[in-house]
């Protein structure tokens, strides 16, 4: 048996188990702490005194360094003091320690090169993950040292309000795997396309609330890209809504794409090619128009469905009923989701489109429906029964007959339409193994007992296990 040395023995007797933890663990524990807090913690004990100096994680946020930043200070002084603080941290830290992750939240003004100096230091310390959050009144140019940084594998750039970012003309990030832009304005679509294509190792691209000024087409073409997220369903800091792609066609040519997430106003046209590896798709479609043209919605939905029809998992949500109504018609779905195994739907009351989608997914094994309802509906509950009652004609649907094993209904109110869907699935689902019904939380008028007793009396065509769950 190994003899533990006396110093460690002393620590163990004192009850100190923390100091014996390996450095990598200590770094991991403190990795999310603001650097200023780590500096404060240097007053704890001699062991902790120089912790922050060799921390490979930097979290420098102008908003958190002082508890009341603008008390007794002008805005200008605050900026200068923060610069001093960051300079001091960068100067005092052990420069031989590589930075694993740096999060920097600061202000950037015209004629001020402080930010570029900091980026230079950070890149020379082999930063891997760089999260830059800027409040800026000028366009931002991605510096060369950052683009050519050999260690950088993840970069996130965000602004508080959309700002122009000047992309380099000489190529993309060499080793970058994850790229995330939030509220960035891109002036030139060709430059963006070239830039993304030149990030040859890029795995994951996220474009959130970005502005594609005067783009005719947003063209994402990347051989290695596995995850693409275009998220325009974000409210800006000043309450503005993001325009997204509602004026611009979306073209995606990524043969290795595995996951595609598209949220926000629908684009006028889609060209989604070669998405042969696609496994997961999340679509949340909206329209910028108050009364969108149904034919336009049908066209757009058809194009996007055609592009993603190979997927195994599909999550669908619509903020605009003009996408949903046409799906409820007999030939509403123009494609077949042959590989689809799991379908998640966010649904309001109307649910005819659920049957259409089931019909178009012959190999579906799992169905999950999340009911969205508005506050007002609770009061109208009693009238609900008459207005929205619909019956689903019993018929054989391929996935119900052969494949659908699991159904989950979440946020259920106990309405007649929900009961009718349950009845239909139980009657026509011949291989159904599990059905879970979860009640909506915050519902004032629970009809759980009524619904439960009704469901238990329904005829089933399989040996299905019924579970009722309370909200979390």
């Amino acid at each position: 048996m190994k003899m533990v040395d006396t110093v460690e023995n002393q620590k163990l007797e004192d009850g100190d188990r923390f100091s014996n933890l390996p450095d990598s663990i200590i770094h991991q524990i403190f990795s999310s702490f603001e650097t200023i807090d780590l500096i404060r913690l240097s007053a704890v004990s001699r062991n902790w005194r120089y912790l922050w100096i060799s921390m490979p994680y930097l979290n420098l946020d102008i908003n958190t360094v002082w508890s009341r930043p603008l008390a007794n200070r002008s805005f200008h002084t605050l900026i200068e003091k923060f610069k001093d603080f960051v300079n001091w941290v960068l100067m005092s830290q052990d420069s031989s320690v590589d930075i694993q992750r740096c999060r920097l939240f600061c202000y950037h003004f015209a004629q001020d090169n402080t930010l570029y100096r900091w980026i230079n230091v950070v890149t020379r310390r082999n930063v891997q993950d760089f999260d830059l959050n800027l409040v800026s009144d000028v366009p931002f140019e991605l510096p060369r040292c950052l683009i050519t940084c050999e260690s950088l594998t993840s970069f996130k750039l965000c602004f508080d309000t959309p700002r122009v970012v000047k992309l380099p003309t000489f190529g993309g990030f060499r080793r970058l795997k994850t790229l995330d832009f939030l509220r960035v304005e891109f002036p030139d679509f060709i430059l963006l396309r070239e830039f993304v294509s030149n990030c040859t190792l890029l795995d994951k691209l996220i474009l959130e609330a970005c502005i594609f000024r005067d783009f005719e087409i947003l063209d994402i073409c990347s051989t290695n890209l596995k995850i693409l997220t275009i998220h325009n369903n974000i409210e800006g800091n000043r309450g503005e809504e993001c325009d997204g792609l509602h004026n611009c066609e979306l073209k995606v040519d990524c043969p290795n794409l595995v996951a595609f997430n598209f949220l926000g106003p629908s684009a006028p046209d889609y060209s989604l090619q070669n998405l042969n590896c696609l496994k997961e798709v999340y679509l949340h479609l909206d329209s910028k128009e108050n009364f969108p043209d149904v034919d336009v919605c049908v066209y757009e939905l058809g194009k996007i469905f055609r592009g993603v029809c190979n997927t195994e998992v599909l999550k669908l949500s619509f903020d605009c009923m003009e996408f949903v109504y046409p799906l409820a018609l007999p030939n509403g779905l123009s494609v077949s989701f042959c590989n689809l195994k799991s379908l998640f739907l966010f649904v309001l009351i109307e649910a005819d489109h659920i049957i259409t989608l089931l019909n178009g997914s012959p190999n579906l094994e799992s169905l999950e429906i999340f009911y969205e309802w508005y506050e007002e509906e609770e009061e109208d509950y009693e009238y609900d029964e008459d207005y929205y009652f619909w019956q689903i004609r019993d018929r054989a649907i391929p996935c119900l007959t052969y494949h659908l094993k699991k159904v989950e209904l979440i946020n259920v109110l106990g309405r007649r339409t929900e009961l009718e869907l349950v009845r239909f699935l139980l009657k026509n689902g011949h291989v159904l193994q599990k059905m879970i019904i979860s009640w909506g939380s915050g519902f004032k008028n629970p009809r759980e007992d009524v619904l439960m007793s009704r469901v238990m009396t329904l005829p089933t065509s399989s040996n299905v296990e019924l579970t009722f769950e309370q909200p979390d």
Binding site: A43, V44, W88, R117, N120
Partner: protein, 238 residues
């Protein structure tokens, strides 16, 4: 199969067991699928063929005391079952880490030496939550750390964050540079607008701030000359 100390195997439960030995010498059997959930044990079994009998028991790393091992095996026993939902796993984890800080630290260390990353992540997050927002005094109490710094040493870093003499000097140098630049612009010597960033190391900066060869003014002058010939703006790097 004739070793006396091997457990009698009932025909209806033909489970495989892995033999583990902790640092205190005691040896125990663990169900194979549970033990193999730990990468380090998995490696010992597959790469080195260890663990199949009492005499070939896998020596568990020293940082894994019997109490921690028992906890780790409970964790593995739950999580290695494939059918569990995310909700169930999260719920288990939340209850699992409720223990005193001493034990939590030991568990973190043990999980790390067995390379069980999910458990390391869980315990690290728990320790971070315990530490954050607490005063140095409270932290010393919780973790039994000695109060071995002088009052001055305790106050030093925060005082330095904006009052370090090096920072004051740096700011003076920047101010001086900006002034020189303005003057040059007036004389229309500088042509290029583009900012170039400097590659000098921290050591260089510190050495000339601390009065290296030629002193500060000397170095500055030399650098200014170098600048003019390059016709680009020279900024110091921290």
């Amino acid at each position: 199969m004739s070793e006396v100390d091997m457990a009698v195997i009932k025909p209806e439960m033909m489970k495989s067991f892995i033999w583990l030995q902790t640092a205190d010498g005691s040896i125990q059997q663990v169900e194979q699928e549970v033990a193999m959930f730990c990468p380090m044990i998995c490696h010992e079994v597959i790469q080195k063929g260890m663990g199949s009998s009492k005499s070939y028991a896998i020596s568990v790393p020293q940082r894994v005391n019997p109490a921690s091992l028992s906890l780790i095996l409970d964790y593995c026993r739950f999580h290695q079952v494939p059918g569990r939902s995310n909700k169930e796993r999260k719920s288990f984890d939340e209850k699992f880490i409720r223990m005193d800080t001493k034990r939590l630290c030991e568990l973190t260390s043990a999980a790390d030496s067995l390379q069980l990353k999910p458990l390391v992540d869980l315990t690290s997050r728990a320790l971070a939550r315990i530490i954050e927002g607490r005063s140095p005094e409270e932290i010393r109490e919780i973790f039994h750390l000695p109060d071995d710094l002088t009052e001055e040493e305790k106050l030093e870093p925060l005082k330095n964050t904006t009052d370090d003499p090096r920072i004051r000097l740096l700011n003076r140098l920047y101010a001086k540079k900006r002034k020189e630049l303005k003057e040059k612009e007036k004389l229309k010597i500088v042509e290029v607008e583009e900012d170039r960033v400097d590659d000098r190391s921290v050591d260089d900066l510190l050495s000339f701030i601390n009065g290296g060869e030629g002193g500060i003014i000397g170095c500055w002058f030399f650098c200014a000359l170098l600048l003019n010939s390059c016709c680009s703006i020279f900024f110091l790097i921290v």
